[in-house]
Every structure is written in C-alpha cells, then in structure tokens.
C-alpha cells in the first residue's frame, strides 16, 4: 500500500534577500485510500507544503524527510516525483501557449505510464473523462490553460488527476474561485478517483465548503508552518463554527 511520509519538514523561501522559514516541522502520513484535509488561515504555509512536495525550485528544504513507499522524494526531480506517483492539482495552473491540451495530456500520460497509451483506447478514455467533467470536446484543441476560466482550469486539473491515476494527490485549494456548480463537478471528479481506493488524497483548503462534497477521513489544522491539531471530520465542523481564531490568536503566526 502506497504511503507518503512527511517527517519534521522544514522549508524556507527567499524573500527580500533573506531566507524565511515557512514550514517549521511538518509531520504527516498519508496512506493510499485515505483523505486528509489540511485547513488553515491564509499565510499558514499550506500551499508551501503542496509546492515543496511537488519540488518547486522556489522552495528550499532545510530539514526533515519525505518518502513515498520508502523512496526519498526530496532526492527526485520534479518530473521523477510525478512519475513516482505524486500529483499536485495547482491553485493557479500555468498557461502553456502553443501546446494543445490533447498533446499535453498524451505526453504526460506517456511519461507517467512509461509507454504511449494506445491511440484508440486513449481517445475514448479522454473523451469519457471530459464528458464526466462537463467539458466540451473542443477543449482538447485549446492551448493548455490559455484563456481558460477559473472553473475550466480546475476541471482541467481534475481531468489530469483522473487520467494520470497517481498514488498520492495533493489538491491545492482546488475549491477556491469556484461557484457551487463547478465545485460539485470538480468534487465528483475527485470522489471518482478516491472511490478506486488507490489514491491517498491531501486536500488543502481554506474553506470548509468543499468538505460537504469530499468527506475527509482526517482533518489537520495548519498554522504558522506546522500542523497544530489533528482530528476526524468533526474537526472541520468546529472550524466551520469557530474559525481559525483559536489557532492564530497569540500564536507564532506573523
């Protein structure tokens, strides 16, 4: 069973010519089939955790370890992490002009699966996945994220999640900027992947709203660069009612 283990992770980022520590010792274990929600106020370091796990060059790991099934993730390049089974659905997906969605998806699937998918089944697979996400077929011919609305970008991220079938999916504020209909469609996509039981999900969010659609097994409260409280789904209800104040007031958060 695939397991992502994060131990005492410390991460800095360069800001104003100085190294600033953003993550201050994160411990978390995500197993295949589990869904963990990470909730926290703005600036608590949630997105830094997501991008550090994916290997974004902006972040420097200064301590701790991350392993996927015992393999050292921090030693891997960004593309190696993806091929090892890590997937990051980004909060702000990047436009890639000149590269069509269909070409991008096929290149990505070829890289992650280790061989080019057979054309006929692949076309069918993409078409069906797009239909499930209410995406128009013309979408495939557009350039990656270019001119996409906020909802289209997020559906495109979840389309990739469905096609690439990672071991661990990190969803970085996938719910932000979505209206209720789009949120429902995107959540259904995530749930289809979860129901296979083959993915561990790390759901990073600021709001409890998405948790009505995607039921987490564990909820962690993130504040000032570390997990400050963990619990079951009921912890989300507490946050819904009380907000983050209890965690930020007088805390280490700046």
């Amino acid at each position: 069973m695939a397991t992502l283990e994060i131990r005492d992770l410390h991460v800095t980022v360069e800001a104003d010519n100085a190294e600033k520590e953003i993550l201050k010792g994160v411990d978390l274990t995500v197993k295949q089939g589990e869904t963990h929600a990470i909730m926290g106020p703005n600036g608590s370091g949630k997105s830094t955790l997501a991008y550090s796990l994916a290997g974004h060059p902006k972040y420097t790991i200064t301590g701790g370890s991350v392993t996927l099934d015992g393999e050292d993730v921090l030693e891997m390049s960004v593309d190696e992490r993806a091929r090892a089974g890590l997937f990051l659905a980004m909060q702000y997906p990047v436009e890639v002009p000149g590269v069509s969605v269909s070409n991008f998806l096929r290149t990505s699937a070829t890289a992650v699966r280790g061989e080019a998918p057979k054309l006929r089944t692949w076309v069918k697979e993409v078409k069906e996945a797009m239909e499930r996400l209410n995406m128009d077929p013309s979408f495939a011919e557009r350039n990656v994220n270019e001119g996409f609305s906020g909802g289209e970008k997020k559906r495109h991220e979840i389309l990739q999640l469905e096609l690439l079938k990672p071991k661990v999916a990190i969803l970085d504020e996938t719910d932000s900027g979505l209206d209720v209909d789009a949120l429902r469609i995107v959540s259904e996509g995530v749930n289809r992947v979860r129901e296979t039981g083959e993915v561990g999900t790390l759901l990073i969010t600021h709001y409890t709203r998405i948790l009505r659609y995607i039921k987490p097994d564990y909820v962690h409260v993130f504040s000032a660069g570390r997990i400050v409280e963990s619990g079951g789904a009921e912890l989300a209800d507490k946050l819904e009612n009380e907000g983050y104040e209890a965690y930020t007031k007088g805390g280490a958060s700046e």
């Binding site: 593309d79 997937f87 990047v94 890639v96 000149g98 590269v99 070409n103 350039n143 690439l164």
Partner: protein, 393 residues
C-alpha cells in the same frame, strides 16, 4: 530575462500606426532605391535601416571592402521538365524587374554579381514537383542574383536551400504573372560563421498568389529583406517566417508589403525562438497602404519565444495607412518567455525537462511548419528544431 530585452515579457507591442501624407517607410531610408551601390553612403550604424545590425560582423559587405572570391557559393538548380533554367549576364532585361535595392548591401550585391540565375516557369505550366535551388557556401565571398519568373497561370513550388559557409550578398526577384501561384521556401541552414544579406522582391500579378516561407536557423549574421508589391488587382501575399536564434547569432528579417494597388491582400506571420547569450533576433514589419489601394486587406504578426536568459528581440511592426477605404488592417507583436513556471507545470505532470522544452517549441512553430506543404522540408525543420534544442545552451 535579458536586461537588454526591449520588449517586456508577455507584453504586446503596440508598434505604430501612422497616417501620413508622406510615406515614412520610404523617407526614413538613408537614400532612395537604386541599383548602383555608389548611390548609397557607407552606413555608420545609426541609420534607421542599420541600427539593429552589427556592421562589424558584415565582413565588409557594407563598405566595399569585401571583394568576391572564386570559392564563394556553388549554386545547383534541380527543376522538373518544362522549367527553363538559365545563367545570364548582367545585361539581361529580366533582371531587377521585381524591385530596386533599398540599402547599400542590396545595391552592392546588384552592382557586383557577374552572372545571374533565371528560372522560368512558362505560362499555364503547373508543376507537381518542387524546383530546388541549392546554394552551398564554399568558404569565400560571393555576390549573386536570382530571378524566378512564373508566366500567367503557372503554378510552382521553389525551395532555395542555403548551406555551408560563405559571406554572401544576393538578391532574389520573384515575378508572378497574372493568376500565377508561387510558393517559395527559403531555408537559411548555414554553418555558424556564415554571413548572408539579401533583398527578396516579389512582384505579384493580377489575381496571383505568392506564398513565402523564410526559415532561418544558421549563420553568424543573416539579414533578409523580403518585399512585396502588386502589379494588378486581386493579388495575394502570404509571408511566413520561422527563425531559431542561438547564442551569438544575429538574425534579422525586415519586411515590407507595399499595397500600391487596390483590392489586394497580405498576411504576414513570423515566429522565432531564441536561446543562449547574445542571441539577437530583429523583426521589422512595414506595411504601407497607399492612397490608391482601396479595398486592401492586411494583417501582420510577429511572435517570439525566449527560451533562456541572455537573448534579445527587437520587434517593430509598422502599419502606414493612407486611405480609410480598406477591408482591414491589423498588426500584433508579442514576445513571451518559456519560463520556470511553465517548465514546472509540465514537469509536475511527469514530462522530463528536455521533452517539455521540445513540446513547447514544436507547438509554437507547428502551425507554420504544417503550412509549408513540402514533406521533406517540414520533416527537416522538425529535426532541425530538435537539434537546436539539444545543443548546449
């Protein structure tokens, strides 16, 4: 991004739209057009038409010090049956009909060549195979002139392929009879040290169609000046260009479409990728719609993709309109960068770095490459693009 970059990354350059009583396209040149090199002063580098060009790398083509050597270029013409291929003297009446040199080096080329090539496709001859003109540099200095003339309703594809090493100033005339259709692919696949300067004049007959692909990969300095004018109404010009500018290379494309005749069309699309220190691409797109050219429909576009730090693009579209009675006129220029965020996004989907770059650059050029319609050239360009990407930056 290179500090020297004059176009902010991701921005669209507005360029200039001038409505002028007197053409600034014509008046900003340092001398009126002429076939005689003596009519042009030796440029010093601050002239409008020379300000982007490193004169010291022209190896004397601009100041009269570059004398032709015996081992300049070897020109071979392969043509299907029905095509007339000739080598003619300077006094042949068919030379220089499509346009007059507008700068010192073009006039130098016209003043210095000894023999010219003339390729004629007789009227109503429709070729199914391309005419191939191979210009291979043998290491020396050369001046040349080539005429390609299509009779009325003739149709042809011409590939002019420049390879090897040379210092070459050579002009090309394309003369299209009424209703003729000519596609030209000019490939500049020179060795690293080559210098190539030329003016390409197209004169488009009534209802004729001219389609040009200028593909520049090689050379130390390449500076081409494709120009189009119309000899009758209903003419159509499509000018496409691709360039891949590497470290240290200067590749300059200066275009002029002179809408001097009513009811003609032009469409210009040039795309370039740049990588490496001191890679410098220059694109000047002049479109002039003369007062008499009612019903003109024109659009010009330049896109640049900067792959690494240290490269520089100068892109200057210039649309000059002397009549409001037109169908359409537009232009656009944009320079973007293949940046770390795009690379991260693609790699985060499992795509290795070199593959990610390839995907982006192939995608960037694909829409132009696919329109060439000459299979072996299309294939060679894709291979060339891959080679360029694999070269050490």
């Amino acid at each position: 991004m290179a500090e020297a970059q004059n176009i902010p990354v991701g921005s669209t350059t507005a360029g200039q739209i001038a409505v002028a009583a007197e053409s600034t396209v014509a008046t900003r040149m340092s001398a009126p057009p002429s076939f005689d090199v003596a009519d042009f002063p030796v440029p010093h580098g601050r002239e409008e038409e020379w300000r982007f060009t490193p004169l010291e790398r022209l190896r004397g083509l601009h100041d009269g010090t570059a004398a032709a050597t015996g081992d300049g270029v070897k020109v071979t013409v392969e043509a299907p049956a029905g095509v007339v291929v000739e080598t003619v003297g300077r006094d042949d009446a068919r030379l220089g009909k499509a346009g007059t040199p507008v700068d010192r080096v073009a006039a130098q080329a016209y003043s210095a060549f000894e023999k010219a090539g003339v390729v004629t496709v007789p009227k109503e001859t429709v070729l199914t195979e391309p005419i191939r003109i191979a210009v291979h540099g043998e290491g020396g200095i050369a001046y040349g002139h080539q005429v390609i003339e299509l009779g009325a309703f003739a149709e042809a594809v011409v590939v002019i392929d420049h390879t090897g090493d040379a210092v070459l100033a050579a002009n090309v005339d394309y003369v299209l009879g009424d209703g003729a259709k000519l596609t030209v692919v000019s490939v500049q696949d020179w060795d690293d040290k080559a210098v190539h300067v030329g003016q390409h004049n197209a004169l488009i007959g009534r209802d004729a169609g001219f389609k040009s692909f200028v593909v520049t990969f090689g050379g130390d300095l390449v500076r081409l000046h494709p120009r189009v004018a119309y000899a009758g109404t209903g003419g159509e010009a499509e000018l496409f260009g691709l360039y891949f500018t590497d470290a240290g290379q200067h590749q300059e494309h200066r275009l002029l479409v002179d809408h001097n005749t009513p009811h003609c069309k032009s469409n210009v699309a040039y795309k370039g990728a740049l990588q490496g220190d001191d890679a410098h691409a220059v694109w000047i797109g002049d479109v002039l719609i003369e007062a008499k050219a009612e019903g003109t429909d024109t659009y010009e576009m330049n896109r640049n993709l900067v792959l690494t730090d240290g490269a520089r693009v100068d892109s200057v579209p210039n649309l000059e309109i002397e009549t409001g009675e037109i169908v359409g006129a537009g232009h656009a220029s944009a320079t973007g960068r293949f940046d770390d965020e795009q690379l991260f996004y693609l790699m985060a989907r499992g795509i290795p770095e070199h593959e990610a770059r390839r995907l982006v650059v192939r995608g960037f050029f694909a829409e132009l490459v696919q329109q060439i319609g000459v299979d072996d050239i299309e294939e060679r360009l894709l291979v060339k693009i891959d080679e360029e990407l694999e070269a050490t930056v």
